[in-house]
């Protein structure tokens, strides 16, 4: 036992494998759930990050997705509904040496925890947030979620929802997120590379993963996510490249003023007319336009919409402390207690 040590000793770095990140707990998601894929890609990514296992913490709220920490052989905290960002903020701000992940769902992050998502993003706390969006409440057995499409019939909306849905990426961009991306549970290569990008971003990384709930909302994304139609109905965002999509890569996205439109290449339309993706653009307006492109009017953008640099909350907090120490000197408790007018009796 060590006494009073705020930080654990460093260990020599030994290469780890995926199995090192698999906990001894039985995975209890429904067979066929999209969560399995996200868990697998996350575990697969971990060894490549080169961070000792004990320095990684997964924090979650409540919901199917939020069981993930139990299955990761890292430090983990399965907290209460919607509040994972708050615990992550306290942990990262007080322990900047750790890599902190927040695992959440559409209800957890955007309904009950909506406030915390806004604020962790604007503060730019250096954590990775992975939002499993299945557009349904799974753990409570099939009620609509804040991302359920308007009019959706569920157990709690037998006549269809009348709640206009939130767009997670628009929310993140509106909250001044510095890293915003979207991926898909069944597109495993895209998913792992997106998570990798997120893990390497300094600041809050926000990744929405379209995740199929095969029990309560099966096929929610299949119209565009199915492998057969995916090239035509999604568009892969690549930094510095024009927005081209289609099996034959013959269509693109052009900006007409502030409106996006689909154009066919040829007949005088060339790649030069297309919007060139720039994830580092300081102004989030174009990322905002991309975030709102939806099937069936548009192909669904996948990949990194925005990746910009801004000082992180945890760094700024440390910096203020360092500055205070260099300006005022390290705090002298006895002197502080005796601050102001004092007098002596006897």
């Amino acid at each position: 036992m060590t006494s009073g040590a705020p930080r654990a000793p460093e260990t020599p770095h030994v290469p780890l494998a995926r199995k090192d990140f698999v906990s001894d707990q039985e995975v209890r998601w429904c067979p066929g759930c999209g969560d399995y894929s996200i868990l697998a890609q996350t575990q697969k990514l971990m060894p490549d990050l080169g961070i000792p296992r004990e320095k990684i913490v997964f924090i979650s709220g409540i919901g199917c997705s939020s069981r993930l920490p139990y299955y990761m052989n890292t430090y983990g905290f399965h907290s209460i509904h919607g509040r994972a960002p708050t615990i992550a903020t306290g942990l990262k701000a007080s322990r900047p040496d750790l890599q902190v992940w927040v695992v959440t769902g559409d209800g957890d992050a955007l309904s009950i925890g909506g406030n915390h998502i806004l604020h962790i993003l604007r503060r730019n706390v250096d954590v990775v947030i992975v939002l499993f969006n299945n557009r349904i409440y799974g753990l409570t057995k099939g009620q609509y979620s804040p991302t359920s499409e308007l009019g959706k019939r569920t157990k709690s909306s037998p006549l269809g929802t009348i709640d206009y849905p939130l767009n997670p990426l628009s929310v993140a961009l509106g909250a001044e997120a510095t890293f915003v991306a979207r991926s898909l549970d069944i597109d495993v290569h895209h998913l792992i590379s997106t998570l990798d990008r997120a893990a390497h971003h300094k600041g809050t990384s926000f990744v929405e993963v379209y995740q199929n709930c095969n029990v309560y909302n099966d096929g929610a994304f299949m119209e565009f996510a199915d492998k057969a139609v995916r090239p035509d109905r999604t568009i892969q965002l690549e930094h510095g490249k024009p927005l081209i999509f289609g099996k034959d890569r013959d269509q693109g996205i052009r900006l007409n003023g502030t409106t996006a439109e689909i154009v066919h290449l040829g007949n005088g339309v060339t790649e030069a007319d297309l919007l060139v993706h720039d994830e580092t653009r300081p102004d989030p307006a174009v990322a905002g336009i991309l975030a709102r492109l939806q099937w069936p009017q548009f192909p669904v953008p996948m990949g990194v919409l925005r990746a910009v640099q801004r000082p992180t909350y945890d760094d700024l907090m440390e910096e203020q402390i360092q500055q205070a120490v260099s300006r005022q000197g390290k705090g002298d408790l006895a002197a502080l207690l005796a601050e102001g007018d004092t007098w002596t009796v006897g």
């Binding site: 654990a8 000793p9 209460i80 306290g90 942990l91 322990r95 402390i321 705090g331 408790l333």
Partner: protein, 623 residues
């Protein structure tokens, strides 16, 4: 004013205690004047006790009754425990202040009025149909009429400030006058002015000028036949400063961090009357303190839990409405058995209630306001300076027993002040914490045989990777468990863990007859001073009355039950409708009576004394 015989100089009369209330519009700087008077008196060597009383509105309409802000200070040549039942002197800066506070001043008391403000408009705003200065309202009082506004303006006519700025200094004219009346030195306030306005020499000069002008006016105007002196109090030897409860609270938490060698992390959302703690701790960055102004009450406690998970001192602070919002997260802290402290500075409820007024009605919320069987340790300071000790104590319990602890203060303690005998940091016992490092022996929910605390394994420790959370945990392994027998065992462990804190806290002390007697007055929190004073007076009259004051409310000190049983009657005096009484009756089957009020103001000594008189007859008490 209570006088002593003897010593009289030409025109100085010696008194042993004076209570002054400064009252004016909320823009008039009454809090500042009161605080300066307090600090000067404390530094002079008096015992002091203060109570600010201000409106919830930042700037209610000028001159209106809701806009009146007041500050009461009692200073004495002996040990006092309350800011005084009633003011001997009321300084009324406008008609509304007179209207709001006159009823508290006993006949024969002194009223100093700023006559300049008694014009038709202000009288109407204060609901006076005719001028109380001329219509007999003040008959029976000693009224001193001073045109404070205009005299201040005249003193500052060459100060180079505009009219508005000049008018804002009138509180210092009034303060100067009070300094003369009570024979106080000007130097402490002059020093304060110089430091405070160092970047604004014109304002500094003007404030100093009008302070002296007020003082000189007292000396030359012959409005007062005498002035008064309250000699130094006979306090315990040592170095003192004046301190408010919230300041002492912040320093206590900082000291707890010092005693553990850990980083203090404070997550909080601004709320009256607890915001001072956030503001104080935010000043201590060079001590490594991390303050986080959260987006809401839930985020504040969530972040504190996150910090505690990381091995730091997780602290959050709030008042009643915020404590309600933190309930679920507090339950999480109980479930994951992490040490956090929640500082709750009570105010009048329910709901938004009366935010700037005091109350003790969150005791049952602190005890029980969560889902499930969810015991939380509760401690409560009894005086402003004791907030320091109990803040340290809260963390000592949290860290020793791996439990969340509620530090239950109140608005009266938080904003009130008294002299504080500075502790010697070297003498304070260190708070030992341990973190396991051995993967071979580590079990997340194994328990210390004595305290039942689980090990505090922190992220960053190789080989101890484990998962905690709000789902019920399997005994020892900490894996998720839905087994009913295991749940029953874990619920009992969590209760037992809190119960065993009783082995680790001091017994409750009795003032009076340890062996028992006719009446025990039991209290907790900020009512200490009033209860003690009332009991001392009753005992001086020969009544068989004692008192005991609880600092530990969950668990109770182990000697409480036997103590209660030694008294014929038990009176629980508290600023709620009987919350401690409910607990005491339930736990000890004692027929405790209650003295209760919820006016947003502390007990007067007199109120407790009257209740004592109704319960104990003097002739019976002679044994």
């Amino acid at each position: 004013m209570t006088g002593r015989d003897g010593k009289r100089e030409a025109n100085i009369q010696e008194l042993d205690r004076v209570t002054i209330r400064f009252a004016g519009d909320s823009g008039d700087g009454m809090q500042l004047a009161g605080l300066q008077f307090t600090n000067t008196s404390a530094a002079f060597g008096n015992d002091v006790s203060t109570m600010p009383d201000f409106p919830a509105e930042i700037r209610a309409p000028a001159g209106s009754i809701p806009g009146v802000s007041a500050f009461q200070v009692s200073f004495s040549s002996y040990d006092i425990h309350t800011p005084g039942d009633e003011p001997d002197v009321l300084v009324a800066m406008n008609p509304a202040a007179l209207q709001a506070h006159l009823a508290d001043v006993p006949k024969g008391g002194t009223i100093i009025v700023n006559t300049d403000e008694f014009n038709e408009v202000n009288l109407r705003k204060a609901a006076y149909e005719t001028n109380p200065l001329d219509n007999g309202t003040l008959a029976g009082y000693r009224v001193i009429k001073v045109p404070i506004s205009s005299m201040n303006a005249r003193a500052l006519k060459d100060a180079g400030l505009d009219t508005r700025q000049i008018d804002r200094s009138k509180n210092l004219f009034a303060l100067g006058l009070m300094y003369w009346l009570f024979d106080r030195p000007l130097e402490p306030t002059l020093r304060w002015i110089e430091a405070k306005f160092s970047k604004n020499p014109l304002v500094a000069q003007a404030n100093a000028t009008t302070l002296k002008a007020g003082y000189n006016f007292g000396e030359t105007a012959e409005l007062f036949p005498v002035h008064y002196r309250v000699p130094k109090a006979d306090l315990a030897p040592g170095r003192y400063r004046n301190i408010t409860g919230n300041e002492a609270t912040a320093l206590g938490f900082l000291t707890a961090a010092h005693l553990t060698g850990k980083t203090l992390f404070y997550g909080s959302y601004p709320i009256t009357p607890a915001s001072d703690i956030l503001q104080e701790l935010a000043r201590f960055k060079n001590f490594g303190v991390k303050t986080f102004q959260a987006e809401d009450e839930i985020a504040a406690i969530g972040a504190a839990i996150g910090a505690a998970f990381g091995g730091n001192l997780g602290l959050t602070g709030t008042s009643g409405p915020g404590l309600a919002l933190k309930s679920e997260a507090l339950g999480l802290a109980v479930m994951v058995e992490l040490p956090i402290v929640v500082a709750a500075v009570q105010r009048s409820g329910p709901s938004t209630g009366m935010p700037t007024k005091t109350d003790q009605a969150d005791l049952l919320q602190a005890m029980f306001g969560r889902n499930g069987e969810c015991p939380v340790a509760v401690v409560a300071p009894a005086t402003p300076s004791e907030c320091f000790d109990m803040a340290v104590e809260a963390f000592r319990i949290a860290l020793t027993h791996m439990v969340p602890v509620i530090f239950l203060s109140d608005g009266y303690l938080g904003a009130g002040s008294e002299p504080w005998l500075l502790p010697d940091i070297q003498d304070l016992p260190r708070i030992e914490t341990t973190h396991p490092t051995d993967p071979a022996t580590f079990k997340p929910y194994a328990r210390d045989p004595e305290t039942l605390a689980r090990p505090w394994a922190i992220p960053g420790t190789p080989g101890l990777e484990h998962r905690i959370g709000g789902l019920e945990k399997d005994d020892i392994t900490g894996n998720v468990s839905y087994d009913g027998e295991n749940h029953d065992r874990m619920v009992r462990y969590r209760q037992e863990k809190v119960d065993r804190i009783a082995n680790d806290i001091p017994p409750v002390e009795v003032v009076g007859d340890e062996a028992g007697g006719q009446l025990l007055v039991l209290g907790w929190g900020g009512t200490y001073g009033a209860i003690l004073s009332a009991v001392q007076r009753a005992r001086a009259r020969g009544l068989s009355v004692s008192c005991a004051h609880l600092r530990h409310l969950n668990p109770f000190p182990p000697n409480l039950g036997p103590l209660l049983s030694r008294f014929d009657q038990v009176l629980v005096a508290e600023l709620n409708l009987g919350q401690l009484r409910l607990l005491v009756r339930a736990k000890f089957l004692v027929d405790a009576q209650g003295l209760n009020k919820v006016t947003g103001r502390p007990f007067l000594i007199r109120e407790i004394e009257e209740k004592i008189n109704s319960m104990v007859k003097a002739e019976v008490s002679v044994r």
